[in-house]
Symmetry: C2
Subunit: 220 residues, 2 copies
């Protein structure tokens, strides 16, 4: 089918712009996180927590990817950091072209951490590099432990995998051992965190990890 050829072309164009974004962001010494998950796994809630915990130490900006709304951007703005909204107009992922446009609308000077919250979609976003240093994939316990093997690309490409809504695990049949084994079978190196935004669990550890990464980039 012609679809496959088309996608290849899009990915190639994306790779070129990804390199442009990386060069620009590297030059400024900014650590860039591409945050991915299904809808409703808790990306925005985690982001709110990270900002609250880190913003006095690190200069943070956020790019919010959504189909049409500015709901998440409003939540992030309320936390007091610069945020640029990308509305994809229905498209199912962010790409390097959109990010290039968004970073042109951000003041990069002095910025240390840029977090890009991708469109809620466990399939498509993982195919598109956008200029990030690392991909972080969030799965919530309520989604089921079978997801890493069903939607492998996001888990395979992520440097960090966050198991969120850990406080709800007791109400589900989520098999944690199976989950970790499955992720390990496709990704030997990912760092794991278990978090709950409502109970504030695991988020301090995640923030320490991010802080170290930001420090490393700056002394590079």
């Amino acid at each position: 089918m012609s679809e496959i050829r088309v996608v290849t072309n899009i990915l190639q164009a994306n790779d070129e712009l990804n390199a442009v974004n990386r060069k620009e962001l590297d030059k400024k010494g900014i650590y860039v996180i591409n945050l991915m998950s299904s809808p409703g796994s808790g990306k925005t809630s985690i982001l709110e927590k990270i900002i609250t915990k880190l913003k006095s130490d690190i200069k943070i900006a956020v790019i919010e990817g959504d189909l049409y709304t500015t709901k998440d951007a409003q939540r992030i703005e309320a936390k007091g950091v610069p945020v640029v909204q990308i509305n994809t107009g229905g498209a199912c992922h962010l790409d390097a072209y959109m990010i290039k446009d968004a970073i042109n609308n951000l003041d990069l000077d002095g910025l240390e951490l840029l977090i890009v919250e991708n469109v809620g979609n466990l399939v498509c976003p993982a195919e598109f590099e956008i200029g990030e240093d690392i991909k972080i994939t969030v799965l919530s316990t309520t989604e089921g432990n079978d997801k890493p093997l069903k939607y492998p690309l996001a888990f395979e490409k992520s440097g960090v995998v966050i198991l969120n809504k850990i406080d709800l695990i007791e109400y589900t049949d989520f098999d944690k051992q199976r989950f970790y084994d499955d992720v390990r079978s496709i990704n030997e190196k990912a760092t794991f965190f278990e978090t709950s935004c409502t109970k504030d669990l695991g988020l301090d550890e995640l923030c320490i990890w991010i802080k170290n990464k930001v420090k490393k980039i700056k002394t590079r």
Copy 2:
């Protein structure tokens, strides 16, 4: 960008095959459901329940859409109904072409209900008609009540919207009134069901509704 033109062409080709599928399935008097949701909302669990409750009354078959695995198809096969697995090889939705191929591998004679479980993705599947009589979108309470406006197309195009994992709502901040108001603002006609597969709630009502639809198609 060239992307938009390409997508239009794909959608047009899909529409043509959708019409072919509809004609074939209509001729046989089969009621066809396109079941959509994010990963982990509970599509497969709902499907298992529906099959168990209806299979002695109605002749059911299932088409399972997944990226790579046959996990869900195995779960459905264990319930004792014919199932055809479509592996999209990474593609984020089912299309009419895939369904055409799948129905060629099903015995349609005497079949009354065909349920197509789409790829877990709240964005892309809603764009592609596959030959269905109705789209049903599932949202789980743990995903948050903001999803209909953030991912409107699936909710807008669905004849039925199921709010699943209703037993977990007390552990979330899900605002049910807001959810219903938001869906109503983009879809005046959708029928609502609230379900829980672990507590077996709302599923009998859903099955009665489906049974009536199947009966209507047969007497058409």
